[in-house]
Symmetry: C2
Subunit: 384 residues, 2 copies
């Protein structure tokens, strides 16, 4: 097991009817800005519940944060925040709104000329941020219980991530009933996003972390078990389980002391940036490709997953590991998630664009630091 | 799943050679008191490592905190703290030292006449505490990552618990190498303590918490897997796994949204208070008794554990649940942990003493609130 630190001060308030508790946890003496997306929270009643919780608090609002939130939109919010002397940010929505609000919180306090530095530095330049909290309405990204954020820039077709302890939410309210109004596609995306988060912290090489392995397998098996109910009915317990599993998939517990590999995310981000593929859709394409390309390096863990998650006990390690890849693809297909570039009309020409970007950046990825631009091309060709 | 809150701001610093990091995380401008037990930390080098980390910091020390730490000892520390204007407490040791320091931190700030109120109120009277941190040397109680503490009072032979968010450690340093010098008995006790912590949050009735169930099974299976190596050799990875598993067994994650039953602990505390049985020893006696007495209520979860943790797939629910009890007792015996009152010379007369105490207190326990003094007697008679 590698040495590690773990620190996660986010207060989770979880369950039915918990949204009005924003009242209990918001500071009473600070001007709050509620930030949200395209207005679905007005149709499903979440907006009204939050407003009820804001009674007695001075607040304003900012709407229009898009999926794969844009730097350009975020900077508009920063301007408003400065002009209106906002002191506390309340994100209401899914991972995109949360990620945007984390960036906005940091950008509002950034003394440098160009807040895009926050993203190019990975967050190391962040020395302060406005306090923030959230009401989560879409289980997927885990953003509600970590200090990470991913932001896109329209002008340059870039999508970058940053992390900073200054952008941990002070509290996150998770009411599984808010998911009842989600379209099936968003639920499917959330299931895949959470599944792949676990895999990026699991399917690498082992450094003897049996507990963390089993904790990861617990989340993955749970996601597989609830997926059908999540997609086919409005059942409280399966929604609650899904919501908490998506949080636990990326709240830091699974990655403590283990070897991670976020190459699926890094490659997937470029598919979103260039071709507008949903984040989860990009992951479902890239993950099997990375696993096939890095098969020899990952087969030990993949075989372990086959044995423990799918109870595949026959065959040798190689065949078990291959079965894990097949089972994963079958899972994606079972929830109507495509897994090929061709499903989105992306061809060799598109792969070239992505490869060139990795060439320009000189990115090195993978747990063995053996995935560069050339290998990205090889991986994506396995996904055509 | 029941509604829940989760909040755990403890910073964990985990791994080889991490003890000197007390320097990094201790406040430089506050007078620190290092508190420890009987001096084993002087023999195994931990004391010297901590002292190295205290360079440049004004500090004093208090030693002599005993296992099942005594109120009387704690109050001596409180006197010293007040006299010497100590502002930060650093516990160095196992769960007993940590629990003592949590109580001392609260008692030093308690404005009431009798700090024993902190324990009789379960912690609700605690409105402030001195900041505290710790260097853990014994994996067992989970005290390093929660806000609970158990204190004994010699004069009245009482042992009570309290909890308060004010006594979360600011940071906890966990170096698995500190466990190399532990006697086998303490390692065995730690394994049992962690095992039973998981069970008190698991072996009740189900409220549809599949993720939490699997997270609990992950910790238990891991403890079973590492036990032999922990007891038979000085192997870093198995000690690290044990140490992190014991922390994860009681850091709040396993109990979110589930039904708990701490009756084994409550009954066990009295065996320690009256007869000086080690805490873990008391749990190993009482747990099988509670399970047999409450068999019909707990058999669903026990059978699930039999299937998932021990892969017992044949037979019906009743026989699987019985096997889970047998396997648990076998595990305790395999690590040389006795499981009967008679192993400690405790007879019917002793049971009567315990029953009378529960009668006086009017305690009601169990997930169905059906364990009172009479049932405590019935349970303990199953443990003779």
């Amino acid at each position: 097991m590698n040495n590690f630190e773990f620190y996660n001060p986010v207060r989770i308030v979880f369950g039915k009817g918990t949204i009005p508790q924003v009242q209990k946890y918001l500071p009473k003496d600070r001007k709050v800005m509620m930030l949200y997306g395209g207005g679905s929270i007005k149709r499903n009643g979440v907006y009204d519940q939050v407003v009820q919780g804001l009674k007695g608090i001075q607040w304003t609002e900012f709407s229009g944060i898009e999926p794969n939130p844009l730097y350009e939109t975020c900077m508009k919010a920063v301007e408003r925040i400065k002009a209106e002397k906002v002191e506390f940010l309340l994100a209401v929505g899914g991972g995109s709104v949360l990620d945007a609000v984390k960036f906005i919180a940091a950008a509002a306090c950034y003394p440098g000329k160009d807040p895009w530095d926050i993203l190019t530095s990975g967050g190391s330049v962040v020395k302060a941020a406005l306090p923030l909290a959230d009401v989560l309405t879409l289980p997927a990204t885990g953003s509600e219980m970590n200090c990470f954020s991913v932001i896109s820039r329209k002008s340059t077709q870039e999508k970058l991530a940053f992390g900073s302890p200054h952008v941990f939410p002070q509290f996150s309210i998770l009411d599984p009933e808010t998911t009842y109004s989600l379209p099936k596609k968003q639920l499917r995306n959330g299931l895949v996003d959470a599944f792949v988060h676990v895999m990026e912290q699991y399917a690498t090489y082992s450094v003897n972390t049996p507990l963390q392995d089993r904790q990861a397998e617990a989340v993955v098996r749970t996601l597989l078990d609830v997926a059908e109910d999540v997609l086919s009915k409005q059942d409280y317990d399966s929604r609650a389980t899904f919501m908490w599993a998506a949080t636990c998939a990326l709240n830091g517990t699974l990655s403590r002391g283990v070897i991670e590999d976020w190459s699926t995310h890094e490659i997937g981000h470029e598919l979103t940036a260039f071709f507008g593929v949903d984040h989860a859709e990009s992951l479902a394409i890239v993950l099997p490709g990375v696993w096939k390309h890095q098969f020899e390096n990952k087969k030990g863990k993949l075989a372990q997953m086959a044995r423990r998650v799918w109870h595949i006990l026959g065959g040798d390690e190689t065949s078990q590991a291959k079965t894990a890849i097949e089972k994963t693809v079958q899972f994606f297909h079972s929830i109507e998630m495509p897994t090929r570039l061709s499903d989105y009309g992306i061809t060799e020409a598109g792969i070239q664009k992505v490869v060139e970007r990795f060439q320009q950046r000189g990115t090195v990825m993978g747990e063995h630091q053996n995935i560069r631009a050339k290998q990205v091309g090889e991986i994506l060709r396995l996904c055509l």
